[in-house]
Symmetry: C2
Subunit: 200 residues, 2 copies
């Protein structure tokens, strides 16, 4: 079996959301699994000096248009949330909590959280909203709400962020295929070629 | 005839170089001409707060790898120049000088300038080097050297930069198709789809 693809993303990242709707199917075509790594871009930006895209003059305005255009091209529902960007500890921790027993369930939950935020304009920075999404995905609501606050889950997120920084992740989505890094939903075509060809 | 595509680029932009090797053929497939607009990203960055890509922590290091990888995929010779980035008044003015009588000749010259910088590591911030490239392209060397310093050519570059800023250009390459803006060599596939379909 080839190595899994590593997929780093922040729940407040529109392009991370777009990539999340594609990456597993894309990797599966090439016999690859995908490891999903929710991270906190705020912590990463302290190292990289980055800033939330929509706050950047001119580029931010363009990005809002580009996000919607890319989403339409993929046929993915998208609306820039009324509160944007948001802190994403709650959905990241919830995903890591769900991952411990069930990686596939955690991915379904992550997709539902992303959709709640970017398609339905629900504020997933709220642990209450996150617990509601978990319940709608079939998780026990009380367990999910408690799980997000578990010390081991908080530590797991810290480790994810530290490892991402060690691996020089500076944005979302960020994908690593056999050691080769790819940044951006617009590199998914190259990610696919890399998996198919082993590089060029 | 459909409207020409507007192609904004800085001669120090690796992704601008990559786009320059593709855009005319791509537009021609859809019966479109392309207007080439050399600009000065330094002036644009004063408005947008942007910074030369390779100076950005982490992202810069990634970008160097990504540029080379994108170039290999396109089959375009590329080597990050030993002096990078550079001021680009000289090649931009030379291109505008050549454009006055001969748009096609100006594009050949612009391609040769880009190649001199990104394939052959020649410092095109130097007016002397630019004049040499012009001579190799069949222009009269003395006329080219004088033309770069012509007041009307300097003014033409100021106008190009001002118009770019008015049109909210914040990076290179930046393409406008029927009023729709696209930033980055990685949007050429969308540029092509937009020309083919009239949008989505």
């Amino acid at each position: 079996m080839p190595e899994p693809v590593d997929f780093y993303f922040d729940f407040s990242s529109p392009y991370g959301y777009l990539a999340s709707t594609q990456i597993d199917a894309l990797a599966a075509k090439h016999g690859r699994a995908v490891r999903w790594h929710p991270i906190l871009l705020g912590a990463v930006f302290k190292v990289s000096g980055g800033a939330p895209l929509t706050t950047v003059p001119l580029k931010g305005e363009y990005a809002v248009r580009d996000m919607a255009r890319c989403a339409r091209l993929l046929g993915v529902p998208f609306k820039l949330p009324s509160k944007f960007p948001i802190p994403t500890q709650a959905p990241a921790r919830l995903t890591l909590w769900a991952r411990q027993p069930d990686d596939a369930g955690a991915k379904r939950l992550a997709l539902a959280l992303y959709r709640a935020y970017f398609a339905d304009d629900r504020d997933i920075s709220s642990p209450e909203v996150c617990a509601d999404v978990a319940a709608a995905c079939g998780f026990d609501r009380a367990c999910a709400a408690a799980g997000m606050n578990d010390a081991s889950v908080k530590d797991a997120l810290k480790v994810e962020v530290e490892q991402a920084i060690e691996r020089k992740v500076f944005g979302s989505p960020y994908l690593i295929v056999d050691g080769e890094p790819f940044w951006g939903a617009d590199r998914l075509d190259q990610v696919e070629r890399w998996m198919a060809s082993g590089g060029w």
